[in-house]
């Protein structure tokens, strides 16, 4: 089991890191946003230094891009190309495949956090709040976003997942408190945004900059998505 999982994880990782668009999505865009908006101070961040708002927001974005967009698109195409079907008649088994995919995502996220934190610190970020909440929040969000990615991948064709996941990425980027504070959104939109997993994750991560308390609502929203999304994916997923 272990050797199989490790071999599968290695291949999942190699394929992910080899795809130009997935590296752009998981590292290129977050770094670009970080650097551009901390140099060009146009965002209504409500903090003295834009980086104090941007760094946690972009970390949230990184989780979303890897767990939802990257996983969703890759899995959608793997399903379309019969890869998942073919793996089903090897001794690998579905639990081992899911474990391998999870490990690969966590590895990419660690890589992203390392790069983004380093860039943020270089841009003058001084995290002050509770870092202890960061890891559980990111893990919960990874589960929730993976569930959303697999929900799309389990039913749509590869090209359709590509379109859907990228659209959702853009919507959640704008409504997720990642580059634009949720407080700046008009009333109705703000209410919608607060119910989505993206804003809940950025809420928790922003507490690392502001030393403010994390709203209980954010944890509840995150936990609800972490439960509902994978369940919906499991219920509807087609392996062929």
């Amino acid at each position: 089991m272990t050797a199989r999982v490790l071999a599968q994880t290695r291949v999942e990782l190699a394929l992910t890191l080899r795809r130009g668009e997935s590296v752009l999505l998981s590292l290129g865009i977050p770094v670009l946003l970080l650097v551009f908006f901390s140099v060009v101070d146009v965002l209504p961040t409500g903090t003295d230094e834009p980086i104090d708002f941007l760094a946690p927001g972009v970390l949230a974005l990184a989780v979303m891009s890897t767990a939802m967009v990257g996983l969703g698109i890759a899995t959608g195409f793997e399903r379309q190309y019969g890869v998942l079907k073919r793996l089903g008649s090897t001794p690998l088994g579905r639990p081992a495949l899911l474990t391998a995919k999870t490990l690969a995502i966590l590895f990419v996220e660690v890589l992203q956090v390392a790069v983004l934190v380093a860039v943020s610190l270089a841009l003058g970020w001084r995290p002050s709040g509770s870092v202890a909440t960061v890891v559980p929040a990111m893990l919960l969000a990874t589960v929730a976003f993976s569930g959303l990615g697999l929900l799309m991948a389990g039913r749509l064709r590869g090209e359709a997942v590509l379109a859907a996941a990228n659209s959702l990425y853009l919507v959640l980027l704008l409504l997720g408190g990642m580059v634009i504070p949720v407080a700046e959104l008009p009333g109705a939109l703000r209410a919608v945004a607060r119910a989505l997993p993206a804003a809940a994750l950025s809420d928790v991560l922003h507490a690392t900059s502001t030393a403010g308390a994390v709203p209980g609502r954010a944890w509840a929203v995150l936990a609800a998505w972490a439960l509902a999304a994978p369940l919906a994916a499991a219920a509807t997923f087609r392996w062929e």
Binding site: A3, R4, L6, A7, Q8, R10, V11, A14, L15, R18, R19, F77, E78, Y81, G82, V83, K85, R86, G88, S89, T90, P91, L92, G93, E240
Partner: protein, 301 residues
């Protein structure tokens, strides 16, 4: 105990489409069995039931005396699967794919040796999506064999493969046989079935039409006509009189003589053509080819 045992298999899809309709056959270790039939005959459905992808609507299938669905985890280490289409990561390199699959099994083949055997050593590091159709098929075959399976299910293994590639695939199938592997081959290519299979099961509309060695199938049904090609518009009345049997031009330039082939009739036919100084195209008077048998069976069914 046969390696593969299909008994009264019925597979129905939603919408009341019956893909397999009461099929029974067996295959032994060290035997290459070709499941031969036109597109849509139910070959892939049958194979996918044996691989555990589909459950029988009724009837039973056993592979190595295991139930492909209920005993899936015990069966997968012992079978090799080549899907009709795809099944490989588009971005993976052959050597990478083989090493990955090798890691799934307890005593796998050496990936490098297998690549070499299948003529893929030169493209070992070329991503799958940039391989030719024939190379992709050979990689799929390699992935099916890397775990040293006791039963190999190969669905249209030579589809889109060039002549040299086909030769390699035939040799590899021959090696599997001598190693004691049971090979179940689904194909619509008569030529391949005739060349590589020990036994052929002809299916259409999900039913078994005939079963036997290629030689037995071909000699079982005596030919009742002599068929030949010659310039169109022959004087068939004159020819009929010369050979002592009715000759019809089935389509321009194709003729059929309604008599069991005998050397005397063939001699009379060629003599008449020689007299008229007419060119003779192909002449079919011997035993039937597998194609004849196949066409006759599948057009009746």
């Amino acid at each position: 105990m046969p390696a593969v045992d299909v008994s009264g298999l019925v597979v129905r899809y939603p919408g009341d489409v019956t893909a397999v309709d009461g099929l029974s056959f067996t295959a032994e270790a060290g035997e290459v069995l070709a499941l031969l039939g036109p597109n849509g005959a139910g070959k892939t459905t049958t194979v996918e039931t044996l691989e555990g992808y589909k459950s029988p609507t009724s009837g039973t299938v056993r592979v190595l005396d295991l139930d492909p669905v209920a005993d899936h985890a015990r069966l997968t280490p012992r079978i090799g699967v080549m899907l009709q289409k795809g099944g490989v990561y588009p971005g993976i390199r052959p050597v990478e794919g083989l090493r990955l699959f090798a890691a799934f099994y307890d005593s796998p083949e050496d990936p490098a040796g297998l690549l070499d055997r299948l003529g893929l050593a030169g493209v070992a590091r070329t991503p799958w999506r940039r391989l030719s159709g024939g190379e992709q098929q050979r990689l799929s075959l390699a992935l099916a064999l890397v775990g040293r399976p006791e039963v190999a299910f190969l669905d249209e293994p030579t589809a889109g493969v060039d002549v040299a590639g086909r030769q390699i695939i035939r040799e590899v199938i021959g090696e599997l046989r001598s190693r004691g592997t049971c090979v179940l081959l689904a194909t619509h290519e008569l030529d391949e079935a005739e060349r590589v299979a020990d036994r052929v099961v002809i299916v259409d509309h999900g039913r078994l039409l005939a079963e036997g060695t290629p030689a037995a199938l071909m000699s079982a049904s005596e030919r009742t006509t002599i068929d030949f090609g010659a310039p169109p518009g022959l004087d068939v009345t004159g020819l009929s009189a010369a050979v002592g049997a009715v000759v019809v031009e089935v389509r321009p330039g194709r003729y059929s003589v309604a008599t069991a082939p005998s050397p005397a009739t063939v001699a009379a036919l060629t003599a008449w053509l020689a007299e008229q100084d007419l060119a003779l195209g192909d002449l079919r008077a011997g035993r039937q080819s597998l194609e004849d048998v196949f066409l006759r069976l599948t057009s009746d069914s």
